[in-house]
């Protein structure tokens, strides 16, 4: 199948290096300490953060740092075929784990010993790149909850189809069976925290694709910063400062 037309356009009309439209909204879940909706094109994810709060299960308490928990789930209506997926299948367990590890690396857990932070992410619409969208949403929600972090984490995926590196794959491109590199970075520190890859790719091409994904992450980081700044300004205004 042709994923990049001779004119250099992708199936949804984007250029190979072009990202989908981003949209973010903060404070979407009233009860949560922090929450956000993050959209990347047709992928839509909602995240809620509770905490830092008392550890629910005492045996899990860690005495020198906070306990971070994460739960990823996909709404039944998020995909084209409305399948009832059993809770806790392998894929979502793995993604939960990956998101938890990524967020744990950027939260200053040592500042909140003997406490617990819960992150819940739910996919509302899935169109490829749910993992990245979830991490971006979780970052926004954590920032909204005012949890101390080293830096914000942003994530973006990139692939390689028709011997062209493509940024931010959608579902059709994702399920084409080509390589899919998901990268998460700490933009200020310029460090890669999350790196996941599927399928086969020679090293030199991998380096290019990873570089492209990192560029995408940086672009998302800029957008997230803007959104956070805007949100803070509004808060300022509401408080009449």
């Amino acid at each position: 199948m042709e994923y990049v037309s001779p004119e250099g356009l992708r199936l949804d009309g984007r250029r190979p290096m072009e990202m989908r439209q981003l949209r973010a909204e903060i404070g979407t879940v009233a009860k949560a300490n922090g929450s956000a909706v993050f959209e990347m094109g047709n992928t839509k994810v909602i995240a809620a953060v509770y905490g830092p709060r008392e550890v629910q299960n005492r045996s899990q308490q860690i005495n020198d740092q906070a306990l971070v928990r994460c739960e990823y789930s996909m709404a039944n209506f998020s995909t084209g075929d409305r399948m009832r997926k059993p809770k806790g299948d392998r894929r979502s367990t793995e993604i939960s784990l990956v998101i938890r590890q990524t967020m744990e690396a950027c939260i200053l857990t040592h500042l909140m010993p003997r406490s617990q932070i819960d992150i819940f992410v739910q996919v509302l619409q899935a169109d490829g790149g749910t993992r990245s969208a979830c991490i971006n949403a979780a970052t926004l929600a954590l920032a909204d909850a005012g949890i101390p972090m080293r830096d914000i984490v942003t994530s973006c995926s990139a692939g390689y189809l028709n011997s062209t590196p493509l940024l931010d794959l959608n579902y059709i491109e994702d399920s084409a069976g080509g390589p899919d590199v998901t990268v998460g970075i700490l933009p200020k520190l310029d460090k890669v925290t999350l790196l996941q890859m599927d399928a086969k790719l020679p090293v030199d091409i991998f380096e290019n694709v990873m570089g492209l994904a990192i560029e995408g992450c940086k672009a998302i980081a800029n957008y997230i910063r803007e959104v956070l700044l805007e949100n803070t300004k509004q808060l300022e205004y509401r408080r009449g400062l």
Binding site: S59, Q60, R90, L97, T102, G177, V192, T193, Q196
Partner: protein, 450 residues
């Protein structure tokens, strides 16, 4: 995670600091260099497709089994491959019995991505009837002892088990040509899986900051390290999967690790291949010892066609058996008498062809015999002159050129002859039974035979 925190065996601060300070001077607590892999030893089980790997103190067992299933709707002509990790509670106090924790799921997913998404195993060759019946390969991974770096160990164990696994050959037959016949291993040689390349997982552990890197961390180091990266690469320099979360790394360090992983993977690939080859050659030797008994039978069958004198044929049978043994020994001692065995083999070849010529017409569906040869043999039936038979044998040799060594050539030929004789017995009662039993039952029975 729950289990991880509730029941983890924790290191004391002193031990942690000791490991860290030792690493700063590039020393590890087990005396290795930072980029040194532990010794790998692979033992194979009695059955095909089971391997036990020992990597230092870590012990992992990989078992491959296969059964028939209906293929997925979106991939009607591909077999399936699934990985089921099981963390036995005896391996580590933090493993819970019965429930697969997060680490088990992660391990399964990493190996799964390495093997399946990089198409290491040819799944299209596992299709029997498109859309209806395919082989489902199941890899069970048992962690017997957790000495650290389970992912690498489990990956190697899975590969070793996959490479030694053999599935029974099956073909379509029956009256309507839709019935699946599974040939028991005694009749036809079971087929190995087609493995295109070997994706090897290499784990890197990062301590303190990204500049202190070790490869293949042991249990104690895993408790101390700040982050890890698992790169699954093959010997050709392709990256098949990467899994990394936590602790930030710069791009430069990642690329260095990948380069290192590729060299290590080439090393490990060699070790796995050597182990598998040793196992295969031993297996082949055992097989020959078992099969020598059928040589006599074959020659007996031959006698029905040409001679009537039983005494003579038995003598011939014994003689052939002895020849066969000699030829086996000579191959085992690496073709010392290459010339002699060649001539011997020619003798045995012509024998089996003589034998083949009549019963072959019974079984046009069997895969073991190619059509050309069939035609030739049917044509030669009336005449049966020695010269024509030789011609036919030459043809067959040409068609079987793909099989690797001359030794295997003989082997497969014997088994093909075997199959054609025994199959007649199988098909005979089957057709009678089929008149009574519904087809579905027959299929179920077939799948349970494995």
């Amino acid at each position: 995670m729950d289990a991880r925190l509730a029941n983890t065996w924790r290191l004391t601060l002193n031990e942690k600091n000791f490991i860290k300070t030792a690493l700063l001077s590039e020393t590890r607590i087990d005396g290795r260099k930072p980029f040194e892999f532990r010794n790998i030893s692979i033992n194979f089980g009695r059955e095909d497709g089971s391997a036990e790997l020992q990597l230092g103190q870590t012990r992992v067992m990989g078992i491959v089994t296969a059964k028939f299933v209906q293929p997925y709707r979106d991939r009607p002509n591909e077999g399936t491959l699934a990985i089921y990790p099981e963390f036995s509670p005896m391996a580590d106090p933090s493993f819970e019995a019965g429930r697969s924790g997060e680490s088990a799921v992660e391990l399964g997913r990493i190996i799964d991505r390495g093997l399946r998404e990089s198409r290491a195993v040819d799944t299209e060759s596992l299709c029997i009837v498109a859309g209806k019946l395919v082989w489902a390969i199941r890899i069970d991974i048992l962690i017997l002892d957790n000495g650290g770096n389970l992912v690498d160990a489990a990956n190697i164990a899975a590969l070793a088990a996959l490479m030694t696994f053999r599935r029974p050959e099956c073909s379509l037959g029956g009256e309507d040509g839709q019935e699946v016949i599974i040939h028991p291993p005694e009749m036809r040689d079971p087929l190995p899986l087609i493995v295109h390349h070997l994706p090897i997982a290499i784990t890197f552990g990062f301590f303190i900051d990204e500049n202190v890197v070790v490869i293949d961390p042991i249990h104690n180091e895993e408790a101390v390290m700040a982050g890890r990266m698992i790169a699954t690469v093959n010997a050709n320099g392709d990256i098949c999967a990467i899994q990394k979360a936590g602790e930030g790394l710069s791009q430069r360090v990642i690329m260095q690790c990948l380069q290192l992983a590729i060299t290590k993977a080439a090393d490990i690939t060699k070790q796995i291949k050597a182990a598998v080859e040793a196992y295969n050659s031993e297996r082949a030797l055992q097989k020959i010892k078992r099969e020598t008994t059928c040589v006599g039978n074959n020659v007996k069958g031959d006698q029905n066609q040409t001679l009537d004198n039983r005494g003579i044929s038995e003598l011939v049978g014994k003689y052939m058996e002895r020849l066969k043994l000699i030829s086996v020994e000579s191959y085992a001692s690496q073709n010392i008498n290459a010339e002699e065995t060649k001539s011997l083999r020619r003798g045995t070849d012509s024998n089996c062809i003589k034998f083949n010529s009549t019963p072959l017409s019974w079984d046009p569906y069997s895969n073991g015999i190619d059509l050309e040869f069939l035609k030739a043999s049917v044509a030669s039936q009336g005449l049966s002159t020695a010269s024509e038979e030789k011609e036919a044998s030459g043809k067959e040799k040409g068609s079987e050129a793909e099989s690797a060594g001359p030794y295997e050539n003989v082997n497969s030929k014997w088994s093909a002859v075997d199959a054609s004789t025994t199959e007649m017995h199988v098909i005979g009662p089957k057709t009678l039974k089929d008149a009574v039993k519904p087809k579905n039952k027959r299929k179920k029975k077939a799948s349970s035979m494995i």
